[in-house]
């Protein structure tokens, strides 16, 4: 089972956080601090896995953004790496050539996509088409919404 997923920038700025098990604010803050400092201090060409307490931390950098996923000890590290990759692919498909700014300015969309992909710390749906379809379906509801807030180009 996955425990949490964090996205942060090279400067250690948090971009997205998803906690799959209940945690107090203090624990969350500590984890975020630990993760950014651990992951950002890794040398290039090290492996993508880390130990943190009894958890495994799987991280991967995509351009300026770090994706950091914590899994339980008996889980499969390579598979977790592919979870991250599939999420990036999903973001890319939705935003079209996704970049960090897309995620900053539309972070709630990134959460919605994540909620369709993972649920309760487990994989819910792996098909890009299926996830896209359900996100589209929810987005359709906003067509009559004329607020400029959503003027973002939806499907790249």
């Amino acid at each position: 089972m996955m425990r949490f997923l964090l996205l942060f920038s090279r400067q250690g700025k948090l971009r997205l956080q998803k906690w799959f098990t209940p945690m107090t604010e203090r624990e969350k803050k500590k984890i975020i601090r630990d993760m950014t400092s651990m992951v950002l201090s890794r040398q290039p060409r090290s492996c993508n896995f880390l130990h943190w307490k009894d958890l495994k931390i799987i991280y991967k950098r995509y351009a300026s953004l770090y994706f950091c996923l914590a899994i339980e000890n008996q889980e499969n590290e390579l598979l977790a790496l592919e979870v991250i990759h599939r999420y990036v692919e999903l973001l890319d498909k939705y935003f079209g050539n996704v970049c960090e700014l897309d995620i900053i300015f539309n972070f709630e969309k990134a959460y919605f996509i994540l909620d369709e992909f993972l649920m309760g710390g487990e994989i819910q749906e792996t098909s890009k088409q299926m996830i896209n379809r359900s996100i589209e379906a929810s987005d359709m509801l906003q067509e009559d919404d004329s607020s400029e807030w959503y003027e973002v180009e939806l499907f790249g």
Binding site: K53, F105, D115, E122
Partner: protein
Amino acid sequence: MSDVVEKTLTALPSLLSLDSQPGAAKLSSTSKLGNLIRGITELTSKHEEEKLIQRELTSIKEQVSSPNTSMRQMKELMVRATYCEMLGYEASFSYIHAIKLAQQGTALEKRVGYLAVSLFLNEDHELLLLLVNTVLKDLQSTNLIEVCMALTVVSQMFPKDMIPAILPLVEEKLNHPKEIIRRKAVLALYKFYQIAPNQVQHIHNKFRKALCDKDPGVMTASLHIYLQMIKENPEGYKDLTASVVTILKQVVGGKLPMDFNYHSVPAPWLQIQLLRILSLLGKNDHSTSEIMYEVLDESLRRAEMNHNITYAILYECVKCIYTIHPKSELLEKAAKCIGNFVLSQKINLKYLGLKALTYVVQQDPRLALQHQMTIIECLDHPDLIIKRETLELLFRITNAQNVTVIVEKMLEFLRISKDDYTTTDLVGKVAELAEKYAPDNEWFIETMNTVFSVGGDVMQPDIPNSFLKLLSEGFDSVEEDRKLRQFAVDSYVSLLQGGPGKLPQRFLQVISWVLGEYSHLSEELDPATVLSLLSKLLDSKNTSSETKSWVLVAMTKLCEGRAGVSVAREVSETYSSSLDTALRQRAQELQHLSQDSELRARVLPRDASREPLEVDSSLSFLDGFVSEALAAGAAPYKPPHQRQEELAQEKALSLEPYGLSLPISMSSCSIGDRQSPTLLSVSSGLSGDSIELSHKGGSATLKLDGVKRVWGREGYLSKRESVEETAQVEVPSPLRSPSQQGEADKSHNQTPTPTPTPEPEQEKQQLASSLFVGLGSQSSVCLMGKSDLTNQRFRRKARCPGTSSGSSEITSNSIVSPPSMVDSLLYNNLLDSNITSELDLASPQSPPQLSQDLSTANGTCDVDLTDRDVTANNPSIIRDNGVVAAEDPDKPTDLCLSSHLPAELSGLSRSEITALCSHQSLHLSACHVQGDDSLALVVFILNSSDSDVQQMLLQLDSDQLEVSSVSESPVQEVRGDSVVVCQYSLTVKRPSVLVEVCGVMSFMCSVGTPQSVQFSYKLPLASFIRPLTVSTEEYGTMWLAFSHDTKQNLTLMREDRESLTATLNVLKNKLQLHVVEIIGMEGIVACRLLPDQPCLMHCRINAGTLAVWLRSPIPDLPDCLIYHCQRALQEH
């Protein structure tokens, strides 16, 4: 694909600065969030950011509370508030508005509302209760998207207590026509299963339906639940094996829709899930494993493509093959596959290869031999993670010959590691290896010194405990014991003389105890020298007061002669005015005992170890005191929870601001209490009570209870934390062993580091040969082959007379007894609460008293251990026998054993006789018999050959049960063609749904080699339940006194007016409960857990279900009982 993403992301930094860039068109230039984000990026200091955000939050706060804000604006405000929270600023004022948005908004606004709620709130946040109605409404909505949102939020966070309210609606969704809804419902139920397994027990059948769903996505989702359930009870799901194999075959064969492919690999997540389930099902089960060999072979073959995801599948496949019953052909393929991982240039794959190796070397150490050069390379890898994983692997292949090199490598890593968690873990492993395989005294003490100084304050407390226990109990030879102790003393003296800087407190405690106890062994050592070293410790600022009391106790043991007395006087004067009561007491003891050497010799005798110590756990010696106090008008003692209840009653409102405060006893143990560290846990809890007791005596007039609550748990905790933190800041100084210091009498060079050679290659070769010694093909038959008896230094003395007779050879080499969970937890707590006086080491240690220790000491509890020792005589036979004994437990015994049942047990209700295990012609079976006030376990030992079996020793042990033998003299032999019956009486120590008794039988066949077999016997807790006859009034008072409870709804047996009576009758008959009274729609029931632990049950009919509330003074008992009630009603 990833390359494309990475390229586009690289273009990013330039975008941040200017809006005119093409990419910026996407960004909403006028949105308020956009403005905020841009505003933040332009700032230069943290302080400015803070100001900006505070301004932003104030403006958001104003707007959300304005009545004119529309839901659409609210949605935008919530997004901004969540953004501020993500940056680390609190926006708690918006929580309630997020809930409102989820409640009242249109679908789109709702989505943001739900998102904000799930980001803002925690599972136990009180505001979440307000969300329950919204979720209920949305679950019933006709809009699919709203249903999806509700299911998503439910699986993200939902108050545990409210699950019953929405459960029926979620369950209903399992039949929804849309697969996406079914899938989400299954996952939501999975989440419920995790946080409250009891709640979803009744829908197991529906899970099966989900498993057979026509949509593969729903089926995949249901596997999460199955994996969990199979993990808990593999026996219950063996029938699924064939279906799982079929599914895997179809997946591997590419029969699923293309949608499920990931980079043209068919449904990898599903494959891995299935492989995990298979390995759980096939573990230790030959026939089930048989079914899956073919599909595993196919999976290995198909996963050829060179992509991360196929490696992930391969890894899982290999693990599965090594978990299930072995098949040589598959093992060979899997081993080759591991080779691909280990030899890969990709570092991630190498890591996984090491992990896989670590997993498999336990079964086949030769595999490590094949990859030794790679392992050596990984050991020097610049990436610490790889290094750490390699050490894990080495730990698994350690034997008596390579232990020094491997431990050296581990210590090397420990010195550079900064992570507390890793240190704790590794230090424990080093200590384990050192105790198990130490080649000589010097090496052992030096290694433990490093363990203590590096591990210091983060190591598990059982490490110093078992070290001291090992020193004090000694081994087979008195001379060896003396040498070991003397070396320890010498090593510590020279360490202290060297002015070691800061040493961790635990190490100082060990040092002071050893010096106090054994420094007389070193003849040239003057007690005055030791005393002055110890008093230097006392003066040091870095010594905690807990350690100081250890030092004082050590001084008490040493203060002989004129010099000793004067030092003692000086020290005791300093500390008898200390603020710390424990220290003050120790100082008093020191003062008195130093003046009265006769008394001291009686209280602290030298070398008086090994007499078992009787601990009066009932504290009967206080009876006189108590009765006096009672006669003087003191209120009788009530347990804390009862007091709590009464207090709550008196005040009508349940006010529990601080909870129960823990009694802190500082000085309840006198110096006369001679206890070993491990035993302290027992006494401290009790002495805590006794302090409580004396407080209570005064509380009749003073109301001390109330006073205590003001300083409740919270205040105490925070204080303690700060103490711990400061303790951890101390950096252990690098420790020089006495030999390196050159001050010890002999210079030792026990760590055979490879001699430096100019060529690094050669160095590696050398390292390899020292690391992998003992793993070669000839010695792999017996890992311990060359480690003959002299090599095993720390051989614990056989304590049980039974084993010493003919099979003393079987005596265990293993010193490490598995730490009992409860015990170590208990001890942990005690350490934390600074109960210094409990750590009284004033005297030589007592032998282990725990039954578990006994069984370990006998060394017969493990087939492996037995094997290892006897292989010298006849390796092949023993090995084969061992395997047969372990794997073929179900050999049918056709004889009618029931006629051998003891006469006093006939006529009582009993379980079926089940076969436990067999070994050649020896068959063990057992059954349990339920008496009115007892539960007997009867073990039948049938010898079907004509030769006798001798020197038989049957030992039973259990975590949850107290096992005591009924027959006076243990059976020692079984004649040919006869049956011997052993009878045991069982009582429950710790309730659990299923309790298990594990046993080992060691014996000697006519052939002459000692053998042993293991078995286990499970029985339901319900067998220990008996009716408890009480009146309604008694029930009432008991109900209030019990603190552990659980509530649950059960299904009723019938729908008519008599349903309550009918249901209770079923329970009464099946579980032997006593129905106290039935009044209208309510009924009260009582039962006891043998021998006399009550459990009360209150039932009420509520909306077609039976609402049951159970209470008991025993934790876990209500939960276990409700499970059995549920089962009883289901089976009916």
